[in-house]
Amino acid sequence: MIVEIGHYALVLAFALALIQSTLPVWGSLANDRGLMSIAPSVAVAKFLLVAVSYAALTWAYLESDFSVSNVYENSHSLKPLVYKISGVWGNHEGSMLLWILILVLFSALVALFSRNMPQDLVASVLAVQAWISAAFILFVLLTSNPFERIPSPPAEGRDLNPILQDPGLAIHPPLLYIGYVGYSITFSFAAAALINGRLDALWARYMRPWSLLAWIFLTLGIAMGSYWAYYTLGWGGFWFWDPVENASLMPWLAGTALLHTASVMEKRDALKIWTVFLAIAAFSLSLLGTFLVRSGVLTSVHSFASDPQRGVFILAILVFFIGGSLALFAWRAQTLTQGGIFAPVSREGALVLNNLLLATACATVFVGTLYPLALEGLTGAKISVGPPFFNYTFVPLFVPIFLAMPLGQLLAWKRGDLLGAAQRLTLVAALGFVAALAFYGMQGGPALSAAMAGLAIFLIKGSFVEVAGRIFVKGASPRAMLSRAIGLPRTAWGTAIAHAGVGLCLLGLAATGWGVEKIVAMKPGDRASVGPYEVTLERVSPRAGPNFRETVGFMTVREGGRVVARLEPSRRDFTARTMVTSQAGILTLWLGQFQAVIAEDKDGGIDTRLYWKPLVTLIWLGAVVMALGGALAMTERRLRFGIARQSRRRNEQAADETEAKQGNAAPAGARVQS
């Protein structure tokens, strides 16, 4: 019964989405306040209905209700509780429902936090959101229904894919989806601006926090996915230029570009058309990613053609939204005026350069990902585009970005002084150079790693030069400097920290060149030395888990004879799916990691792979620092979602009080009309 309620709630949510997608637009075009005003409440109601639907599916998982086909296919009564909850999105149908849940949550947030926005903008934004949610709810109801029942329910489920029985599943998809779907808001803002024909700095100010929010979560989601792959797949790789990874990287690149142009638009009213285009592009690329992952087109063009129902549906959604928004863009963009003039050497100019390089990088990933599909579809020829391609094309684009980042921060708006900015960076550049030499001296080759590490040091230190210049003034007391530091806009700190995060990430990437790997067959009692550490395999013995059995290699890691840690890498045999997974033993030592992976036991001993990867955690910590910088920028007073509303409420309260004193109480509902 509860499952049917969930199904029904989803159908009702679809009906509400249809209402929300039509009446408010009509209202905004006909200037009918009544029609426009329904949008926020419908958005909130739609969110509640989808939440009920999602909760119903979760309930079916918790209860192990195997009469529901989706639960039977992906769950098991013995599965640990956390995987019963996260397993809801560990499959196609459930993950689409999560996608929708986050989408309507964002609509509800816009409805709740945008009362200070012009009503027609809110109405149009929510309407565009509703088009997207209507399309996806219909997709789930027609082709991917998670509530389908099995006539004669089996007694036991088929269990969740063991690879997914990992905390990574609980964290990675929600973060990534919040990022993907977050860009639907910036998309809706862009579409609304094009529909209403109004695009100004104020629009950028409303849109900017949403683009930051989406970017923060997408950054964390990608980093989390990369770390998950690193420790699960267990061969030390963390990024494979896999089409699925590229699908998340493209919106990130477009979103990063958007973040930067939005700041130009908000402050200087320039780059408007390009900002709108990026807002459309970021979400279009998210949709493209959804299509690539969900349609099966990646496995093979032919598998897509043999079961085309879902793929064609998503393709239709893709064509409608991307095609529609681009057509709208082509039609209306000419009517938008360009404001804010600037010299080529200026903060704006630096951000244009940043956008040029990021957009090219994004185009490179786009071509590299889709070219093999297109070529096979057109000519039947099969080629592979793998890491070497991207190392030759994508990576070189980032070197100028890294070099220009600290420089751009130091240029003034409108017209900057390139020489002055370069002079302020001489010390930092020298430091970076010395660091490169020191790294080369300490760690030895490859020279590229040392050069990149030096660049990373330049970037990390250079990120703070601008902030430092605003704090340290000759002759100022420490107290005065502290208050200056606190008084700086949070966006300045956010920029500095996020840029330093990029530097940290680069340092981690550079350090992969100094990693040590050892592949040996080990018998109990054997020792192997890897980098500065010595590993002893103590014994190999079986152990039972809740829904698997495992073979564990018990290892001791020593440094200079002293025991540092004990590791238990294992191979897990999942009975329900007769699948084997490998569980790496990982030891984090300061910023580096020691990793041990074992394979099957043979008479010659157990095959063991040992890694020492110095500074590797910086790759992901750098991403976390980037997200922190973004979060700090979001707390900027000017950008906070509800800020205008709060101050207005305060004003109203004050007004109410004065009026009350005058014995002329204002009607309590006065605000409802505004």
């Binding site: 560990g90 990675h172 797949l233 699925v244 992952v293 592979s384 070497p388 684009l397 067959a521």
Partner: protein, 154 residues
């Protein structure tokens, strides 16, 4: 990353990763290093975008052994690659070769950069920022300005 998730969706679980086995490793460390480098550029044909160095599939193992055999027989890196391309086609190469069918692939990143960069430069030059920002005022602007000043100070 999402590789794992995507695989779950396409129900193509990857085998537990344990690519290169101890018994495959060549005794000559120089040859072995060349074999590893080559392996990174060769695709495991039955996997999703994995190199044979990363993959645990039996076919990947066969290819790794084949690469090592050819190297031991004295082949140069290019000869090994040619041999594999002859057997399996361009699909086996993770770095697509430059030919008529892939020219667009290789050229487009640079084309995008040059085209967009060129457009921006042309625009910046056409806009001649000195006119817009701080150049001499035109006669009509001077007239307007003095009219405003006169109005402000009666």
């Amino acid at each position: 990353m999402a590789a794992a998730l995507a695989l779950a969706v396409t129900a193509l679980a990857p085998p537990p990763a344990f690519a290169v086995r101890p018994d495959e490793i060549l005794s000559d460390p120089k040859l072995e290093a060349r074999a590893r480098e080559l392996s990174l550029h060769l695709r495991c044909l039955v996997c999703q975008n994995q190199s044979i160095d990363d993959s645990d599939a039996p076919l990947a193992r066969d290819l790794r052994l084949l690469v090592r055999e050819r190297l031991k027989a004295g082949d140069s890196n290019a000869q090994v690659i040619d041999f594999l391309v002859q057997r399996y086609g361009d699909f086996v190469l993770l770095k697509p070769p430059l030919k008529a069918s892939t020219i667009l692939l290789w050229v487009s990143p640079f084309a995008v950069l040059l085209l967009a960069g060129g457009l921006l430069l042309a625009r910046a030059r056409r806009r001649a920022p000195d006119d817009a920002m701080g150049g001499e005022l035109s006669a009509s602007e001077v007239a307007k300005l003095s009219a405003l000043i006169d109005k402000k100070s009666p």
